[in-house]
Symmetry: C2
Subunit: 153 residues, 2 copies
DNA sequence: TGGCTATTGCAATACATTCGCAATCAAAAG
DNA sequence: CTTTTGATTGCGAATGTATTGCAATAGCCA
């Protein structure tokens, strides 16, 4: 019996190996430091977005909390990490494979905070309609779902 | 020439009169205090979500900032106000007419922060699909759009 | 290996939001 | 109208997340 049996969208988080991510980091001008290495390693293991404090707790002694914040902000800037907002005022972060196919959303249980990845997305056609109606271009969206998970209903 | 010419979704914010809102407040056990009155009045005038500080600045001298926070939280609890998140870590609030027809979203310009109301919503059928796939019930969504407004492209 | 510079640790800071508590006031009772 | 009373307020302090200044440190390259 696999521990993955509860996963619902296994393909979403298909990721390159950790080594691949480290290569990617080294292919920039940025230094491969211990904080960057351990944070990359930590994020690579996660299956859901993690807060800066969760990251810090998961790697403790290897890096200061302020450096977790700085490193995550850096990873966002170079496109390694996406930020998600689950409505509690605490930012959450996920390592995201380059390319649009890994864009996805989440559903969060209002009771127990269980998170499941969702591969359904806001329809492209509706986005085009919104673009026509508003005149906005380069439209992106932030979308998360909330409800009661099977265990909490 | 009307000043409303730039509005794109005029129907979304059709609202009861301020007096109606005050009646609604009085029909609860809650006291009609000056802070509650002026905040209701301020929110009633707005066409976009406002931050607690914007509310405070818009009514200054009539109410303490802490009481703005408390009043807004109260209004959320009794269903008068909805909270929106534009991704900058500052909560925004809008007076929302009871009933599902006033549920809506926004598009925010990444450059100048211009906000336009959007009446398109995440499709109900897809929500049902997500419910089947995940087992979650009572699913709600948070959805906001971001892009470049006509003036900023 | 040594030097240059990016990066880090640490503490201080910024900022949104909440809380404790005494003073106040809206609403009900007399 | 006056009194009573508990909800509500103002004020300051506290909380929690996130950022920043700066001296010390440590990758990376010559
Ligand atoms: Mn995810
Ligand atoms: Mn709105
Ligand atoms: Zn999407
Ligand atoms: Zn919607």
């Amino acid at each position: 019996m696999k521990t993955e049996e509860l996963h619902c969208c296994g393909d979403i988080h298909k990721r390159a190996s950790l080594d691949k991510w480290i290569e990617r980091l080294q292919s920039t001008k940025l230094k491969l430091t211990t904080p960057r290495h351990v944070i990359l390693e930590f994020l690579h293991k996660q299956s859901h977005p993690a807060t800066n404090r969760e990251i810090y707790n998961g790697i403790s002694n290897d890096c200061d909390l302020a450096s977790v914040y700085r490193t995550i902000n850096l990873f966002i800037k170079i496109g390694f990490v996406h930020q998600f907002d689950f409505g509690d005022g605490i930012a959450r972060f996920e390592l995201i494979e380059p390319g649009l196919d890994s864009h996805h959303h989440h559903i969060i249980c209002n009771d127990c905070s269980k998170v499941i990845e969702i591969d359904h997305c806001f329809p492209e056609s509706l986005t085009k309609t919104i673009s026509k109606h508003t005149g906005f271009s380069r439209i992106k969206h932030k979308l998360e779902f909330f409800g009661l998970c099977p265990n909490c209903q």
